[in-house]
């Protein structure tokens, strides 16, 4: 099966392991992801902070191209891009005069009949039924599923999952053999786009997330957003400095967890690219025990061999 897909800039740059893992995971389920031709950046936080019309026009061009290509569903793995595309789709649908204005800015035809799917919705719609039967290496680890802001809010527009305690990612992780924990920071903000301009704020906010996950004995944090990932992973030095602790639990993408479970090579999932090394103890028990026995520690390289 072929599906339209919008990688966005992060997945082409600093978060390339997210792209690698999404494409590899989809391939394991016989789905080919086709990039929207000549796509542009969605404008992210910068555009809506500085100019509203620009912040709607940039995503509108992307949606218009997808429409022209006849793509009914488009997969948008980045939560921030997903938010901008979905909000634009919604605003233009609700306000015909605004739509007219934006259409004249982009100079393209736009009907608004393309469905934008985030990574969780994509997996749910096209993959989830087959996860259990395809799982060959159950991901038997305690994990904290972290949703962040833009997958769940604003709920009146996104209409996605429970807003304060979402469950869909937890359910998918369970299907892949994982053991999602109950924790308090599922939808708290990591500091998002302030990573460069106010690293101090990002360190404080991300510290709360990492510390709660670790203290509730999560072995890894699972995310579905490249910005959440880079703040929790790349900013770990600043986080640990803030916490005055040394927390080394890795941050994995949901697509990496499912990919590992269905037997995709860790290298094809880009696991070696994380700044916090992925060292998960291999457990051989059939179910996750209440008191996990210490298992052999495998690095990603060893797992591959």
């Amino acid at each position: 099966m072929r599906l339209g897909y919008y990688p966005g800039c992060s997945l082409k740059g600093g978060s390339r392991e997210y792209k690698e893992s999404v494409v590899a995971m989809a391939k394991a389920f016989d789905i080919e992801l086709l990039e929207i031709p000549d796509w542009n950046c969605c404008g992210a936080t910068a555009a809506h902070n500085l100019n509203r019309e620009l912040s709607l026009s940039l995503p509108a061009r992307i949606l218009a191209i997808a429409e022209k290509e006849g793509m009914q569903d488009i997969v948008v793995p980045c939560a921030a891009c997903y938010s901008r595309l979905t909000v634009t789709h919604h605003e233009l649908k609700e306000d015909p005069s605004l739509k007219e204005k934006i259409v004249s800015v982009i100079g393209m035809e736009y009907k608004g009949n393309t469905q934008v799917l985030n990574i969780i919705q994509f997996i749910q719609k096209y993959i989830s039924d087959q996860i259990e039967e395809k799982t060959v290496k159950p991901f038997r680890h305690k994990v904290a599923c972290y949703y962040g802001c833009l997958l769940v809010r604003p709920h009146n527009i996104l209409q996605f999952d429970r807003v304060e305690d979402p469950q869909m990612m937890d359910e998918l992780v369970k299907k892949a053999g994982g053991d999602p924990i109950d924790w308090a920071f599922k939808t708290e903000c990591c500091g998002a786009g302030m990573s460069v301009s106010r690293t101090d704020i990002v360190a404080r906010l991300s510290a709360g997330i990492v510390e709660d996950a670790f203290d509730r004995s999560a072995e890894a944090i699972v995310v579905a957003c490249p910005m959440c990932h880079s703040n929790l992973d790349m900013r770990r030095k600043e986080i640990n400095k803030f916490l005055k602790r040394d927390i080394d639990i890795p941050v994995l993408y949901l697509s990496q967890v499912i990919g590992l479970a269905v037997g995709v090579n860790p290298k094809d999932l880009g696991l070696q690219r994380h700044m916090v090394e992925v060292k998960l103890s291999a457990k051989i028990e059939s179910a996750v025990p209440a008191n996990p026995k210490p298992g052999k520690v495998l690095s990603t390289q060893e797992e591959e061999a």
């Binding site: 936080t45 500085l50 620009l54 800015v105 100079g107 807003v163 786009g193 301009s197 070696q272």
Partner: protein, 187 residues
Amino acid sequence: MSTELKTHLSERFSSEILVQTGVLAIKCYQCGKCSAGCPVSGEMDYSPSMVLRMIQTEDAAEKEKLLRSMSIWLCVSCEMCVQRCPMEIDIPRLMDYLRQKSIGEKKQHPKAKKIIAFHRAFLDSINSTGRLYEVGLVVDYKLRSGSYMQDVSVAPKMFMKGKLNLIPEMIKNRRKMSEIFMKTIKK
């Protein structure tokens, strides 16, 4: 309605906000849930509920304080406030409007310089290539903000992990990008 009353209402800041954004600030009854949930209210000079109260006062001095505040730039648009607001007041949308007005009237808080420099560098990258070029963005940001040494230590490891692109990706229809920018932010 008398002409005087109409004029009086239309000159109100809350009316201007309503017309421009659809946000009805007078609905706020100061429960404070927005400020309690806001991840950055501790760093803000005025918390989100205070911002709403300042608008409600219709006091010119309060409006001035708002446009010159750091709060509007610290808002990370996480959408927690509107999610928990019992009156469903779209505070992030309001913050976007206040930021754009603050820039329009050249009233940006001096400490917001770095945040705005980052946004501008970001948009310039899209304007010229159609996509965000992260390495270029960071270099541009450093030049604009003067933070030359920031994150220098993390760069080699990122490079080793294959996370740094040395050549920017460009879209074919870059003319369309500049058209979109000319018709919106550069208008």
